[in-house]
């Protein structure tokens, strides 16, 4: 019984330790459009390496608020005027970028 569990654990560790991960580094730019209550991109995932610059360009045909979770950046977007949000991704984790009026998920930033 104990031997069985030990075997299982060893296999798992061996499997998981076999290789190491690579994450692309460099700045990340996300171009966001909000047209008649629909966002694009919609629920997309972005890999961001810690320390890189993230730029989010937003154009919208309605007044809305864009919220970057975790970094607690909240900015209003005015119809017709492009909004630019720039920050350094200095915290690891998974952070959602959302709109607060139409309540849609634009993207998730996986910072590591």
């Amino acid at each position: 019984m104990r031997r069985l569990l030990a075997c299982v654990m060893a296999t798992l560790l061996l499997l998981a330790g076999a290789c190491s991960s690579t994450t692309a580094s460099g700045p990340v730019t996300i171009n966001v459009t909000i047209v008649s209550g629909k966002v694009s991109p919609s629920g997309a995932k972005y890999d961001v390496s810690k320390g890189s610059t993230v730029t989010i360009n937003v154009t919208s045909d309605s007044a809305d608020t864009v919220h970057v979770h975790g970094y607690e950046i909240e900015k209003d977007v005015v119809p017709g005027t492009p909004l630019v949000i720039t920050f350094t991704a200095d915290q690891t984790g998974s952070f959602e970028v959302e709109t607060h009026v139409i309540e849609a998920t634009i993207a998730t930033l996986n910072v590591r």
Partner: protein, 441 residues
């Protein structure tokens, strides 16, 4: 790392782990195949070398002195008072607190209660029962216990309660606003209090989804009461010697299905699909959650249906499903820890800090407000991902072991391997499905 380094606003994210998707240190396909191989190999090993029932008795060591201390009136009174003070504090924040994310009530319900009960029950056994506010008060007034009905309905009401909770926790659009949370807490109090007055404290174990969930997980803990004495036992024997109440398989499937939906609903393609649709999001959420629970339950019942020909004594489908549901318990525990442990670590600390100031008046009770959230263990995504993987695969391996022991007890010898194969396939599908959902893009 600063205190708010890993802030996730509960307002938008009531039940998501931080960094729910973490890169594993090797190609994901290898991990999934490896996990499936491990579960299958465990089964193969068991059918060769585990031919006698080994887990049917509790065993372990009796702890009479410790039991006497735990059951002494003084300990009961102090615990009871602490429980009442905590819940009175909670009620104060719920009734007169501000409708802000910083109100601790959200963290108490979504994190300390819902996620906290998992480690409390796995490490502390029946401890959760002792912390139940209604049970505590009922213990002082002793309403009449009428259990006749409860034997038949088992934990079916609690299974239904888990689905309602799933709707509230994962779908209800305004769940993180104070009025909606108040409504749900009042609903819960009415359900538990009226039922207890009607049927005695036995009702709590039948109908309170949190209590039934905690009681089920406590069978995987190293503690068990037997004839009024607490015993230190092997967790596997604790679970293997259990005869679950009716509806335990429904409860487990409701838990697995709602957890699966939680992962599923944050996949890119589901978000994209729902956001492109003109139908309301809550409707899609409901469809998604019900589908997940149906798939999980359907697979399990199919596995059980395909096993019944091998039974020594033929029992009904649902009765057989409940007998084998001990095998689902470690899987439920594995998923709960894999999905929500990071949430408990981070948001649990934040909630405790927020409890210093329940009304948003700048209080600093017990100096709690001076603390910051310590997120050090989560700064290594690989470690987090590895732990998640261990919980899920480990849960399935333990599930296969416990289910096999039950099979040895209930199946005819010549049918042993063949009758179990469909159920094993279900376990492998659960493993693969669970990993794909947890680590899906």
């Amino acid at each position: 790392m600063s205190a708010d380094a890993l802030t996730i606003t509960l307002l938008q994210l009531p039940a998501h782990g931080i960094g729910s998707r973490k890169d594993l240190p090797l190609p994901f396909e290898y991990v999934v195949v490896g996990a499936a191989v491990i579960v299958t190999a465990t089964f193969w090993f068991l059918t060769r070398s585990w031919r006698q029932v080994r887990l049917s008795t509790l065993g372990g060591r009796a702890l009479p002195r410790f039991s006497r201390v735990l059951s002494s009136p003084a300990v009961r009174l102090v615990t009871g008072l602490l429980v009442i003070v905590f819940w009175a504090w909670f009620a104060m924040a719920l009734i007169s607190g501000k409708d802000l994310v910083t109100n601790p009530v959200f963290g108490v319900v979504f994190v300390l209660l819902w996620v906290g009960l998992v480690p409390v029950s796995l490490l502390g056994g029946a401890l959760w029962r002792g912390l139940h506010p209604v049970r505590t008060v009922a213990g002082w007034f002793r309403p009449a216990d009428r259990r006749s009905l409860l034997g038949r309905i088992g934990v079916y009401p609690a299974a239904l309660g888990i689905l309602v909770w799933g709707w509230f926790e994962l779908i209800q659009p305004d769940r993180a606003t104070l009025p909606v949370l108040r409504g749900f807490v009042i609903g819960w109090v009415l359900l538990v209090v009226i039922g207890t007055l009607w049927r005695g404290v036995g009702w709590i174990g039948s109908a309170d989804p949190f209590e039934a969930y905690a009681a089920t997980l406590s069978r995987l803990s190293p503690w068990q009461w037997q004839d009024g004495t607490l015993r230190l036992v092997s967790p596997l024997r604790n679970l293997g010697s259990w005869h679950p109440p009716a509806g335990t398989s429904a409860l487990a499937c409701a838990l697995l299905g709602t957890t699966a939906y939680d992962s599923f609903s944050s996949t890119t393609w589901w978000i994209r699909f729902v956001q492109a649709s003109d139908l309301p999001r809550w409707l899609w959420g409901l469809v998604g959650m019900v589908s997940m629970v149906t798939i999980v339950a359907g697979l399990y019942v199919a596995g059980i249906a395909a096993l019944r020909w091998g039974l020594t004594v033929r029992t009904g489908l649902l009765e057989t499903a409940d007998s084998f549901s001990t095998g689902l318990v470690p899987i439920v525990a594995g998923y709960a820890l894999g999905h929500y442990l990071t949430l408990l670590v981070i948001e649990g600390q934040r909630t405790v800090i927020q409890l210093a100031d329940p009304l948003g008046q700048g209080w600093n009770v017990l100096g709690l407000a001076e603390n910051g959230v310590v997120a050090t263990p989560l700064t290594y995504p690989t470690v987090t991902a590895l732990a998640q993987l261990l919980f899920i695969v480990g849960g399935h391996v333990l599930g296969v072991i416990v289910a096999h022991d039950r099979a040895v007890a209930l199946l005819r010898n010549e049918a042993m391997r063949r009758a179990q194969l469909p159920l094993l396939s279900v376990m492998v599908v659960y493993t693969v499905g669970g990993l794909v959902l947890l680590f899906s893009p």
